[in-house]
């Protein structure tokens, strides 16, 4: 029989991070997703990102909605906080939790159904509010939990497993996020951790809403010839617009700049995102140019990947809403609930 957990045996010489932890300390429950699901690779990439960034698991809140994708948070960091919300409503929960506790790192995991159909409005407003979180959209183009119907991200002309052709135009979450003013927009592929892990790390370091659309093939319903979200199609059509390297603050001294094609953006915490192999007509800090460029790539039938847009001077949810600095949970009762006298004083403002 299949073991209910991974063997406890450990690599005796596995490198540990600054907290003395190995990647195995960031594991969650055994996945019950299909063997070969892209989502499990995203899980593994998240584990690597948290491990490499020396994140203490109890400082993380994992949130999700409904769908295959939304099972993902169960499969990493058992010691972190977790919230599994109603279908498509994860962004609201994330915004609320964010407002109540700005000390946690928020990671939302969603899918194309959860974010682009039932939760499309929620998704848009989370971007508008610039909720300080990493938002990962595991995008496979199908509703896999209900046996593989086309989702809102399915491309025109893509074929279902049984051969039907999709005729509805897709909602491109990257395009949408850019249009709505998102400050960190990326696309990657579950089968390319070399690219995905630095993006996740940069997303975690970003102040505000960091959005990563991850093409994450459904091996059961959407990995056949004719699908535009299969492993093979994504590999042959991916166009890495920019190569992104994330240099965390702790190791910045060693960063060297190769000049020429390299551009660098300093994050608010001092970490640096470096872009290399950027073509001349591309500027990841110019929203208009990015949108134009992505349209061209898309028209060629290619999938643009990389950290496509990054902006570091803006206000996030906390500044918009003037949220309290200390987490609510740490405030004394008197501060949290100052009493009827204080309420009366407050109400005078509207008299």
């Amino acid at each position: 029989m299949s073991p209910s957990a991974r063997p406890v045996a450990r690599h005796p010489r596995m490198r540990t991070n600054a907290l003395g932890l190995t990647p195995r300390d960031y594991e969650g429950a055994m996945s019950t997703l299909c063997a070969g699901c892209g989502h499990d690779s995203v899980t593994a990439a998240l584990i690597q990102a948290f491990y490499q960034m020396d994140v203490e698991p109890h400082r993380v809140a994992k949130l999700s909605g409904i769908g295959c994708s939304s099972k993902t948070p169960t499969y990493f960091m058992s010691q972190a906080h977790g919230f599994n919300s109603v279908h498509g409503r994860m962004p609201s929960i994330a915004a609320g939790a964010n407002a109540a506790n700005r000390d946690l790192l928020f990671v939302g995991i969603s899918g194309d159904g959860d974010s682009l159909s039932i939760g499309l409005g929620q998704f848009c407003h989370a971007i508008r509010r610039n909720v300080n979180m990493l938002y990962v959209l595991e995008n496979n183009g199908v509703y896999a939990l209900t046996k593989g119907q086309f989702s809102a991200s399915a491309d025109v002309g893509t074929r279902s497993k049984k051969g039907e052709v999709n005729r509805h135009g897709p909602i491109d979450p990257v395009n949408l996020a850019l249009s709505l003013g998102a400050t960190f927009v990326a696309r990657s592929f579950s089968g390319d951790k070399r690219q995905l892990v630095p993006l996740l790390k940069a997303g975690l370091a970003h102040k505000g809403f960091a959005f990563i659309d991850v093409i994450s093939p459904c091996v059961t319903f959407n990995d056949h010839v004719g699908s535009t979200k299969s492993y093979a199609h994504t590999r042959t059509h991916a166009h890495e617009v920019v190569e992104t390297d994330f240099v965390q603050l702790k190791s910045r001294i060693t960063a060297d700049y190769e000049g020429g094609s390299t551009q660098a953006v300093t994050m608010h915490d001092g970490s640096v995102v470096r872009f290399s192999k950027v073509s001349e007509d591309y500027d990841p800090r110019d929203r208009g140019k990015v949108l134009r460029y992505l349209r061209e790539v898309r028209n060629r039938g290619e999938v643009a990947t990389g950290l496509l847009y990054l902006e570091e001077s803006y206000e996030d949810l906390h500044e918009f809403e003037n949220t309290v600095e200390r987490p609510l949970v740490e405030l004394e009762y008197e501060t949290l609930c100052p009493g009827s006298k204080a309420l009366a004083e407050l109400q005078k403002e509207w008299w």
Binding site: S2, P3, P7, A9, P12, C34, D40, T43, S190, Y231
Partner: protein, 597 residues
Amino acid sequence: MEPTNTGDPQYYHRVVDCQWACPAHTNVPEYIRLIAQGRYTDAYMLNRKSNVFPGILGRTCDRPCEPACRRTRVDEKPVAICRLKRVAADLRDPVAHLMPEVPEEKNGKRVALIGGGPASLTVANDLLPLGYEVVLYEKHDRLGGLMLTNIPSFRLPEKVLSAEIGFIVDMGLEVHLETPVTSMRDLWENGGFDAVFVGVGAPRGKNLELPGRYDSANVHIGIDWLESVAFEHIDSIGERVLVIGVGNTAMDCCRTAKRLGGAEVKVMARRGRKDFKASEWELEDAEEEKVEILEYHSPKEFVVEDGVLKGMKFDVVEWYHDEEAGREKSRTVEEVFIPCDDVVLAIGQDNAFPWMERDMGIEFGKWDMPTVDRVTHQCSLPGIFFGGDAAWGPENIIWAVEHGHQAAISIHNHCQGIPLTDRPPAGMNLFSQKMGLHEWSYSNEYNPAARTQMRYVDLEERLRSMEVEAELGFDVQQTAREVQRCLNCDIQTDFEAKLCIECDACIDICPLFCLTITDNGEEEDLRQRLTAPADNLKQALYVSEALPQTKRVMVKDEDLCVHCGLCAERCPTAAWDMKKFDLIYPHAGQASRAEVS
């Protein structure tokens, strides 16, 4: 790197560390699984196929398999392989009817075996079923060789020894006891044999030529003394005993001395503990029996007064690295006198062939040892073969058995006119263990249990007599736990590159980070680029053919794989599969290349 050729039986053989390390290549994981299923008789017979003496070896083997065990790399201690072997031997049903059949009609070839130890008996075991007439000459009145004379009965009971020797004798071995061969030439020229096998061991214990050596009768040569004890010519020893030397024979000597009246037994070693030749477990057993082991004592003089041994003088030494000589050297710190009544010398053994004429065509080389081919076991005179300790000096029982198997192949080839170098090739069977979704035909759960401790007879009871077997063996519960510690290294992770879609599922699930998909390169470079440190150069890297989508390669570091099967469970295309590897390691009579063609 070039893609790994897993079609070569030796690649997967090497992954099964215990089987690879065993001189006779016993299929350890398979017999452990049979024990786990309660199939003790089958486990015994599988063992017997390779090592001929499972009951004897289950008590006395030097266990080259255990330090090799993968468990030592992911956990602390190896699986108690040797003790499990004994379980199979102890709990088996009668097996006489399962022994190889011997044809009534003989093939007309006669083979002589000189010496009745494990090497000769193995040759007999392999050749009798092929129709050979096999004649054995033994100088003592019982068979067993060193297994009888040098291994004390509290470690190896007489009945276990005689039962397993009996299986071979019962195949129709013609045994001449108390018949030492005194002239090789006479036997060779007048015996009417087509081949002769020399398995006489290394019968001469090393002496210690120091002042006073011959002034007292209380200084004994270890193996001779053990032999006298085995034949009950000696049944007592003085109260204070010094054993010189710290190999396994020394351990047998000191523990025997404890049982013959030695109240205060000391083992004297020139070196520090890390350089002791004795197996760790034998040292522990001796110390458990209150034997004192003294390091850094170099023997200097026997002190005899009026013909009575009073004790010995030793130089207490310290070791240092001599740059000029490029090796460790010792210097004396002080001289000490240690009183004693008897001294047993256990500092090694030499070969001796006084009965072998030097002008009959058998070439002797360095150390007055016959020149013997490492593969064929034949000496310079075609038709005469050597094995066991007689071939290249003292080894151990399991090596003697393997020598016997190899010599039997040579003797068979020699008698059938097949070139000796035309050895039957190794082969393998490899078959999937998949039973269903997430279901395998083997127990793939990793059990973190610690190594099971052996139980012993109480110390007082144990030391009362030579006949009380010290170890009790594992009981059923202990066995059930210990078998689960085996990592099933013979259930191979077998990869088929053309099926891989590079989804990374196997890499992500592997608990020991054995797997990587990356661009190919030279081994040294590849080892730097893997998911986890791959710094154990003794363990191979598996490298696949180029993968279909990206032309990268799948690399597996074999070092720490616990064969949990999760890579295969998480693989959506069955590019990874768990396949049982069954090494076909042929013995005499199994098809050689010439016979196949």
